[in-house]
């Protein structure tokens, strides 16, 4: 009864011709994810046991902490960005649009501005971390319950308000930084580059705990996230309790982002890269595959980047500048490609 023109029908089936076995295996998401896992393992071993100046045991102790920090940060950033993309139906955003990192920088700036860099450096790391996390989570939860939880229920309005607030935080930060003593400014801008090496052990464990908590909230919703990719109207039609699910996911995202930002500093641009690489790499749109892919790609980027910087180029420290630079180029590529379509 329903007929289509012969031209379209004959071009349809792609599965007719048997593909070579290797290519067929590579098309499977499980194989692709395993390959990524293997890459992470290899990089970890290379990073930990090569180029050891003194005692291997000591090097292992220090380096395993760095690797763990990278794993925690990659998980927080990868999971939160992919979830954020699905909720907002937009793949060139990151949770930083809600002003997370701007807020983090603002809080640090206020501390330096009001009591000087000496006291900022002397500030108890633990108190600082707890304050940052609590303030960031509380303000983002307040923002989305106000703009999404109530009668209005608009994701776009919430994003817009987030952008405005982020801009406000940035301007306030800049205004204060202009009035800082050059030395204070130096200390502050040094501290604002994300640093993954030599993390504080207690804070790392706490951050890992919070990120794990966020993941535990997301995992039962993996299949629901798949349905959310169809958009709100269709998801609601298929029986998803959209408001409850989105509120829960937002809460998980803000906890993960706040914890990892407070640990290492602003690094959300990484999310944009890893999420989009994961979409094209994972071989499936399902979150069971895209989420772990994004996490592992994140670890590969961080660990690989650190290896190149530290061992090949002989630089120390600021991996985040490289990530921001690469992320900027990648962002342009995404925007231009979308525009061309």
């Amino acid at each position: 009864m329903l007929t289509d023109s012969p031209a379209t029908t004959s071009a349809a089936p792609a599965a007719g011709r048997p593909r070579p076995r290797l290519a067929a295996a590579w098309a499977r998401p499980a194989v692709r994810l395993s390959a990524l896992g293997a890459a992470v393992l290899v990089l970890t071993v290379v990073y930990c046991v090569t180029d050891v100046p003194g005692s291997l045991a000591f090097a292992l102790e220090i380096r395993s902490l760095t690797v763990l920090a990278m794993l925690v940060v990659a998980t927080a950033v990868g999971v939160s960005t992919v979830v954020f993309h699905t909720i907002t139906q937009n793949r060139i955003l990151t949770p930083s649009i809600m002003g997370f990192d701007a807020f983090y920088v603002l809080i640090s700036t206020i501390i330096v501005f009001s009591s000087g860099s000496a006291s900022f450096l002397a500030f108890d790391q633990f108190t600082l971390w707890v304050t940052q996390v609590v303030v960031m989570v509380a303000s983002s939860v307040a923002l989305f319950t106000w703009l999404f939880g109530g009668k209005r229920r608009s994701i776009h309005l919430m994003l817009l308000v987030g952008i405005v607030l982020g801009t406000f935080f940035r301007s306030a930060t800049e205004w204060m930084q202009r009035m800082l003593d050059p030395l204070d400014f130096q200390v502050l801008s040094d501290a604002m580059f994300a640093s993954l090496t030599r993390p504080d052990e207690t804070l790392l464990v706490l951050t890992a705990g919070l990120v794990l908590l966020g993941c535990l909230a997301v995992v039962p919703l993996l299949r629901t996230l798949d349905v959310l990719t169809l958009g709100e109207p269709t998801a609601v039609g298929l029986g998803v309790d959209h408001r409850r699910v989105v509120m829960l996911l937002f809460a998980a995202v803000s906890v993960m982002v706040a914890a990892s930002t407070a640990l290492v500093g602003p690094i959300l641009f990484l999310g944009l890269i890893v999420a989009n690489l994961a979409y094209s790499y994972a071989g499936s749109f399902r979150h069971v595959w895209t989420l772990p892919s994004a996490v592992l790609i994140g670890v590969v980027c961080l660990l690989g980047g650190q290896l190149v910087l530290e061992r090949l180029l002989g630089f120390g420290g600021t991996l985040s500048t490289v990530i921001d630079f690469a992320g900027g180029l990648f962002f342009l590529h995404l925007v231009l490609r979308k525009g061309a379509r």
Binding site: M1, L2, T3, D4, T8, T9, A12, P13, A14, A15, Q89, N90, R91, L222, R223, T224, D226, V227, T229, L230, G231, E232, P233, T234, V236, G237, L238, G239, V240, D241, H242, Y279, F285
Partner: protein
């Protein structure tokens, strides 16, 4: 039955659906017609729990839409909105599988897969099953979405302007399909249509809205009268009988 009692919806003080009391979803196909801005899509949004009424009550087979768990409603009522844009790259088969979500929460059983297969072949989508949605023509994509709704296996099916942006052949194709779904599968279809002639040809009952109110609700033949249609659309409409069927002429 889908029952609306005194349902009102306002946007910023402007009343879009005004105290509507009506029962929808009787046997066969019901067409909802009316000019742009008459409140048809808003009414669908209210029944499909995308919007919440400012006043009134909506029930589906006795279940209060505002209080029944969304998932439970989704096994009785399927809604297809207009403009279904999907950001992710998924295949026709993936999409149709989503129709089983209310039943399986994403873990498909053998029974669910049978439903998916049946929906795919009912819409002649077997040759396209592994195609990505963005590789399909408008008519094929609309069929894929209808297949998803069919796999949902609900008693009621709500279609919001399913003929949007389709050419003559695909419009006819979709409407025949809607008729078959009602006749062969016993679906109770309610659909928003802009073309009154399609509505008169394929629907059993026509409901006309204007300014947020229901202004006509009758068997299709009784709505297809010049005075009724002119009152609904504010446009001169002539109705002629061609081969025993009423045809509205509004091109002059």
């Amino acid at each position: 039955m889908i029952t609306l009692e005194g349902v009102t919806k306002r946007y910023d003080g402007q009343t879009v659906v005004d105290d509507v009391t009506i029962g929808l979803g009787g046997d066969g196909v019901t067409a909802l017609i009316g000019p742009n801005g008459a409140g048809k899509s808003t009414l669908f949004g209210l029944v499909g729990r995308l919007l919440h009424p400012d006043a009134g009550r909506i029930t589906v087979d006795g279940m209060d839409v505002a209080r029944t768990p969304s998932n439970q409603l989704a096994t009785t009522l399927a809604v297809l909105r207009q403009d279904n844009h999907v950001a992710a790259r998924l295949t026709v088969h993936d999409l149709v599988e989503f129709g089983r979500f209310p039943h399986s929460r994403g873990r498909l059983t053998v029974h669910d897969r049978e439903h998916v297969e049946r929906a795919l072949s009912y819409l002649d989508l077997d040759p396209f099953r592994s195609r990505f949605l963005d590789e399909l023509s408008g008519g094929q994509r609309q069929r894929a979405f209808i297949a998803m709704v069919l796999a949902q296996d609900t008693k009621y099916v709500l279609l919001d302007e399913p003929l949007n942006n389709l050419d003559l052949r695909h419009m006819t194709e979709i409407m025949r399909l809607v008729r078959r779904m009602a006749d062969e599968l016993g679906k109770r279809v309610v659909t928003v249509l802009h073309d009154v002639n399609f509505a008169a040809t394929y629907a059993d009952r026509m409901v006309a809205m204007r300014d947020g109110r229901v202004v006509a609700d009758a068997p299709a033949r009784d709505v297809m009268r010049p005075e009724v249609l002119e009152a609904v659309y504010d446009t001169a409409v002539d109705v002629r009988e061609i081969d025993g069927k009423p045809v509205a002429l509004y091109y002059g």
